[in-house]
């Protein structure tokens, strides 16, 4: 289902300062081959959005199409930028074990999707909760098959490491770019928490 409706300005949440109306309903992000990358991107209310993954095994780096335009205005939510970064970084999925000649393992689709999913959830949730845009990160190869999410803004630098084991917490560290004002800890990727994004944009 991909219904798009313009939400009346009067029903917009007070703390959600979207510049234009946004669509709600159930949406999908598809690959070039037609496989659904993310399904049920539900923007029904700002509190109960959800993103689910389907058909992970059918996704390859070559078929993710950053020009795919979902039926909701992704430019408002920052989704297009995330999908573009995800597509640009998906080449790591084609690497085989020992790709660096030093014994590094291959990167799994599951880890890659969890990293992209976390970004999508964070971008959508942060926008809908605080009315602000999440800065665009880079998705990069991490150690031992893990994946790094790296933000660098004028005043902040943040690194989140997505582990290969979906049951593990994600390690993160951030500061002002010169070792000051540090934040560090672990994240449960399954529990929405936008404090890091708030810190990143402060």
């Amino acid at each position: 289902m991909s219904t798009t409706l313009a939400r009346p300005a009067s029903s917009k949440p007070k703390d959600c300062q979207l510049p234009i109306s946004y669509g709600y309903g159930s949406h999908a992000i598809k690959t070039r081959s037609g496989a659904e990358l993310f399904t049920d991107v539900d923007l029904g209310t700002r509190d109960d959005y959800s993103v689910e993954v389907e058909g992970i095994s059918s996704i390859t780096s070559a078929t993710i199409d950053p020009s795919v335009s979902p039926t909701f205005p992704n430019r408002v939510l920052g989704i297009a930028d995330i999908i573009k970064e995800s597509a640009a970084s998906a080449g790591m999925l084609s690497l085989e074990d020992n790709w660096d000649g030093e014994g590094s393992p291959a990167y799994s689709v599951g880890t890659f999707i969890r990293a992209t999913l976390y970004l999508l959830q964070s971008a959508i949730g942060f926008r809908l909760t605080y009315g602000m845009a999440m800065p665009n990160p880079k998705i990069r190869k991490g150690p031992e098959g893990s994946i790094d999410l790296h933000w660098r803004t004028l005043t902040r630098e943040l690194l989140i490491n997505i582990p290969t084991d979906s049951g593990e917490l994600a390690d993160y560290y951030g500061d002002d770019g010169a070792d000051g004002n540090p934040v560090r800890g672990s994240l449960d990727l399954n529990t929405p928490d936008y404090r890091l994004m708030l810190w990143l944009t402060s």
Binding site: G101, S104, P143, D148, H150, Y173, R184
Partner: protein, 136 residues
Amino acid sequence: MANIVDGPWPREDIPDLHHLYMRVHKLDLDAGIPAPGAFRNRPKKTGGMSTDWSKYATPEKTQARARIPQDNAVIALNVGQVRSIQGQIVKHSLIFNYPSIPNNQAHTDVFGPKNAETRLKYLRIYRMVVNLPNTR
């Protein structure tokens, strides 16, 4: 401190003012700059980040030790700055008479966690000494 003799070479203490050379694979470069993931312990079984001590190596020699040298850039790390990163231990771990590994008097491991914090800090102290063209 007394040096430990390992094969024909002594294992030495490395001064803070010296440098370590480290290969960075082209796939670990982002527009010619090392990505955070370039700083990792390898090979995994030894538990250290593999480098060469500048006393016994040059950037070119370090690059030449790669399986495919032209696929590897080389960075320099100041030993004192490495030691200033939490948990990082610099240890001269020369290689002599290892099966299938060429002898290397310069080999030095940097032990300690390579977590998000330490890797971000490595990004602030490296200096590129052998660049690769056209790396994304």
